[in-house]
């Protein structure tokens, strides 16, 4: 075998503290290496041309590139090999950037380690075989998980592109956080007026199937051929029969049920339709508040319902949907403001969250748009807004900026002045972060035209005083302490990962960061892809986002799915397990350990044998580790190849 080795400088990323020339020279001493060189940027156009040229000139059978992580450029170099006429699996990559130059400064030690890694790659490559990808059919249906504005956008784009879409939403209605907002920044247009029609489009689109009050139970399969099981939770109402007339809600005696849609600032009935524009506009019963379901009495809704839709005995239902791609758009949750004891959240009734305030501002909210204090229903005059509650605070495990709180606080001060011209808003802030189009102008307007008083500093404590509240804080621009008496305090709560996000990520087999936000494939170049093929991200499940960014990402995710489905068949990965039938003793261990159900037992000449279902195999290698005979081998990662790597390092 003729092997060529290319050691990349990556500018000063690698060459800065690895002697790349020495690495190339050492590589020439390894078996079957006929050519080795260092190169400025192996991934660049001239870098790749150099590889192709060397393949021809030295009649190379395989190539080792020592450069960055395979996550970055393995696919790039495999394409280079194909252009040079080689099989793309006759390629090995030694990671001398992330694993060497970025983590140590000792030139000599780095160079030695880089030589070792190249040696490992050469020994593996000597045992590589050409692999040929198969093809498989794909199912051109897409599932969107999450019916907030990002999910709605993605679903509509896919559906308009001719795809069949299944939209799954956890709450009884789609609309997400945006449907709870009164107005949006920086245009101050009515949130539900711009979202409402899109929600209706979802309901009316012939290509969209909508499952609300539903959660993902399990996800199986792989790109092009997923099987997603959805748990449709009992609404205790037959939604085929329910017309959304709302008669049931007028007769329900359980009138003090905490109202989720109104952020628990109002009360609702045990059977309810979450809000007037709900999609679908169907009633559902809150099982923990319903008198019939908890005590066996009542049943008033059943009596009044004109279509006889009430079903107290309804059970959860599991539905399995085959789809080819999945878009996760599960959004975010609001920070639990009671974690800041000094603000008295949860203890003082008039310390509320920004989203609760949003509901007070909204005409469809519990106060019909009149700003009233929760404690006594009085109209507040002095309102203090506190920013960065659950953002940029390492001490409570939220070091990141939630991004949109500066803007929505500015909006809320403007709306406050509109609602109550003689009111005064105070905003405690750390810095103003308003980098979007027309954003900084907007916060300026709040200060200059609407007279919101911005105080740079944090609040140390809030204490009740004579029916009002004393807000003690620092003004770090004045270098002094300030005290403000307020009637209402609004905490600008930050965003955190949606509840259950980590569990969903495990089901989807995608990565998530320490805070539970889903990880994109690459922070710059793959913002809506994940490292799992066929699974895409949209909106705040990937990190806090405002509406324009969420919508843009919904569009982008849909575009990715449409591009994926533009082909009728996808190439399968040939790096899958294969069984040597002669060695297999039919013990079935591999079948029992395979997490994907990719191994089945067959009969071969009267003997039980294992057989790999190649389209299901994910190439994880668990079976090869379990096989006592070494009969199951993962192609491209066989025992011999891995042992050769170990030997290269240890012998």
């Amino acid at each position: 075998m003729n092997i060529g080795v290319f050691v990349c400088h990556c500018g000063s990323n690698i060459a800065g503290n690895v002697d790349t020339e020495a690495v190339a020279k050492a590589a020439l001493g390894f078996p079957e290496v006929v050519f080795a060189t260092d190169t400025m940027y192996a991934c660049s156009e001239p870098g790749q041309a150099g590889i192709i040229e060397a393949v021809e000139k030295y009649n190379l059978d395989g190539v080792v590139v020592a450069s960055c992580t395979p996550r970055m450029h393995e696919a790039t170099f495999r394409r280079t090999l194909e252009r040079a006429g080689l099989n793309k699996y006759m390629f090995e990559m030694a990671n001398i950037r992330e694993h060497v130059s970025w983590i140590g400064k000792d030139m000599e030690a780095n160079t030695n380690k880089a030589v070792d890694l190249v040696h490992i790659a050469v020994e593996k490559l000597r045992r590589d075989e050409s692999l040929v990808a198969g093809e498989f059919e794909i199912n051109k249906r897409v599932m969107v998980i999450g019916g907030g504005v990002a999910g709605i956008q993605a679903a509509l784009d896919c559906a308009d592109g001719g795809l069949e879409v299944i939209l799954v939403e956890r709450e009884p209605s789609i609309g997400g956080k945006m449907s709870k907002l009164d107005k949006t920044f920086p245009t101050v247009d009515c949130s539900s007026c711009i979202l409402g029609p899109r929600m209706v489009d979802i309901a009316q689109h012939p290509n969209i199937t909508l499952y609300t009050l539903s959660e993902i139970e399990s996800v199986e399969g792989f790109v092009g051929n997923f099987n997603v099981t959805v748990r449709r939770k009992a609404a205790y109402v037959d939604w085929d029969a329910c017309t959304g007339c709302g008669e049931c809600t007028t007769k329900c005696p359980s009138k003090k049920t905490p109202d989720r849609f109104n952020e628990f600032i109002g009360k609702t009935t045990a059977i309810n339709i979450p809000f007037p524009q709900a999609i679908p506009k169907k009633a559902s019963i809150n099982a923990s508040a319903c008198i019939k379901l908890t005590k066996g009495k009542c049943g008033a809704c059943e009596t009044i319902c004109p279509t006889g839709a009430i079903r107290f005995d309804q059970q959860d239902e599991l539905i399995t949907e085959p789809v080819g791609a999945i878009i996760a758009a599960t959004g975010y949750d609001l920070f639990d403001f009671t974690k800041y004891g000094e603000y008295g959240g949860g203890r003082y009734p008039d310390v509320i969250t920004s989203m609760q305030y949003e509901r007070l501002l909204s005409a469809s909210g519990p106060t019909e748009g009149h700003i009233k204090r929760p404690s006594d229903g009085a109209e507040p005059k002095d309102i203090v807004f506190i920013q960065c509650v659950g953002s940029r605070d390492k001490s409570i495990g939220r070091p990141y900026c939630s991004g949109f709180c500066c803007m929505y606080t500015a909006k809320q001060t403007i709306l406050t002045k509109d609602h109550m011209p003689d009111s005064q808003s105070y905003v405690f802030y750390m810095d103003i972060r308003a980098p979007g189009k027309n954003y900084d102008e907007f916060t300026r307007r709040a200060m200059e035209e609407y007279g919101a008083r911005y105080i740079r500093g944090r609040v140390s404590a809030i204490q009740p005083k004579n029916g009002r509240y004393l807000v003690k804080g620092a003004d770090t621009l004045m270098g002094d302490q300030v005290e403000i008496e307020a009637d209402l305090i609004v905490l600008a709560v930050g965003a955190e990962a949606s509840k259950g996000a980590a569990e969903l990520a495990e089901k989807l087999r995608i990565s998530y960061d320490p805070y539970g936000f889903f990880m994109e494939g690459h922070p710059k170049l793959k913002p809506v892809e994940t490292n799992t093929a066929g699974i895409y991200l949209a909106g705040s499940c990937q990190g806090p986002k405002d509406i324009p960014s969420s919508v843009a990402q919904g569009d982008a995710a849909a575009a990715k799915v449409l591009a994926l489905f533009s082909k009728d068949k996808l190439a399968s990965d040939p790096q899958v397990s294969a069984v040597k039938l002669m060695r297999c003793i039919g013990c079935g261990k591999c079948e029992s350990v395979c997490p994907f159900g990719a191994i089945e037992m067959i009969e071969f000449r009267g003997m039980p044998k294992a057989s790999v279902i190649e389209t299901v195999c994910q190439g994880c290698g668990v079976c090869t580790a379990a096989c006592p005979q070494g009969a199951v081998q993962l192609r491209h990662f066989t025992d011999n190849q891995i042992l050769a790597e170990v030997n290269a390092l240890c012998l």
Partner: protein, 300 residues
């Protein structure tokens, strides 16, 4: 078997807050908590030492901890307890700092012996509330403090910093509230329960103390309290002994008795004014206690 603790009274316990120390010992005896005073203990350095030199502060505390180590070799100790939050903070902070091996060897060099410092360190309040529980306290109260309206004042260091003190909620502690409720008093909501009284600034910046302590008295009066209940000798002194000073500076006219919770526990247990040393308070509680007896009479 009753638990036995190494008891650290602190300097003020033998001086300005004699009534706190005496009533604490009496309360513990009633509750079956055995206290063995750390022999030949020295001052922990109080508030000034740690502000000047951490090593000095830790060494002062370290000597006391070392003596407690000796005690633990002779008999089983449930831990070290002190009524004074300031001493407690110094004890616990030192214990925390000794986890740094370099610092530990420095301290051991000064103290001249090894310091294990592995006994749990708690305030008397924490032991009473967490280990005894409210039922025991309620049983103790043969003469419940019926009709007494109080605000509980923890001071700023009893529960802070939370990662060192590891007791109750740093912003809204409830231990004292619950204890007083168990004793039969009416506990009013009090937002300033962990605000600073000005502490030892009284000697250098009287204006700060009259402002901060004044605010606490104002809030107690506004809440409609008959009395403030303290758990810290420094706080109690600022609020009680300096109340006239505060009134002068703020043009107020407060006349609010400031009890130690242990005094009220003794009162509820029927120990009477003399043995709870009510006469040691600067703002006389006599009128209040007399009216209390009358109120209780009305209720009965």
């Amino acid at each position: 078997m009753s638990p036995c603790y190494a008891y650290y009274p602190g300097c003020s316990g033998l001086g300005t807050s004699l009534e706190y120390d005496t009533s604490t010992r009496a309360m513990c005896e009633r509750l079956g908590i055995e206290l063995v005073e750390i022999p030949d203990w020295n001052c922990c350095g109080s508030t000034p030492a740690h502000a000047v030199d951490h090593l000095l502060s830790a060494s002062l505390v370290g000597r006391n901890l070392a003596i407690a180590d000796n005690m633990a070799e002779e008999r089983e100790l449930a831990g070290i307890i002190t009524p004074c939050p300031s001493c407690l903070k110094n004890l616990k902070t030192t214990q925390h700092r000794l986890s740094n091996p370099e610092f530990r060897s420095e301290v051991e060099r000064v103290v001249g012996r090894t310091v294990r410092a592995d006994l749990p360190i708690k305030s008397v309040l924490q032991v009473v509330v967490e280990d005894m529980g409210m039922d025991v306290l309620a049983n103790l109260a043969s003469a419940p403090l019926k009709g007494l309206r109080v605000v509980p004042y923890y001071g700023c260091i009893m529960v802070r910093p939370p990662q060192i003190m590891q007791f109750d909620d740093p912003d809204n502690p409830m231990a004292l509230d619950n204890l007083l409720t168990a004793l039969g008093a009416e506990v009013l909501p009090f937002a300033l329960k962990t605000d600073c009284c000005g502490a030892s600034l009284a000697t250098t910046r009287q204006d700060v103390v009259t402002r901060l302590s004044g605010r606490i008295l104002d809030a107690a009066a506004a809440a409609g309290a008959d009395a403030v209940v303290a758990a810290c000798p420094m706080c109690q002194m600022n609020l009680d002994m300096r109340q006239a000073q505060i009134n002068r500076a703020n043009h107020s006219s407060h006349n609010i008795p400031v009890f130690y919770y242990s005094q009220l526990a003794g009162l509820a247990a029927g120990q009477g004014e003399v043995s709870t040393m009510m006469d040691k308070l600067c703002v006389s509680p006599r009128a209040l206690l007399a009216s209390l007896a009358a109120r209780a009479g009305e209720g009965a």
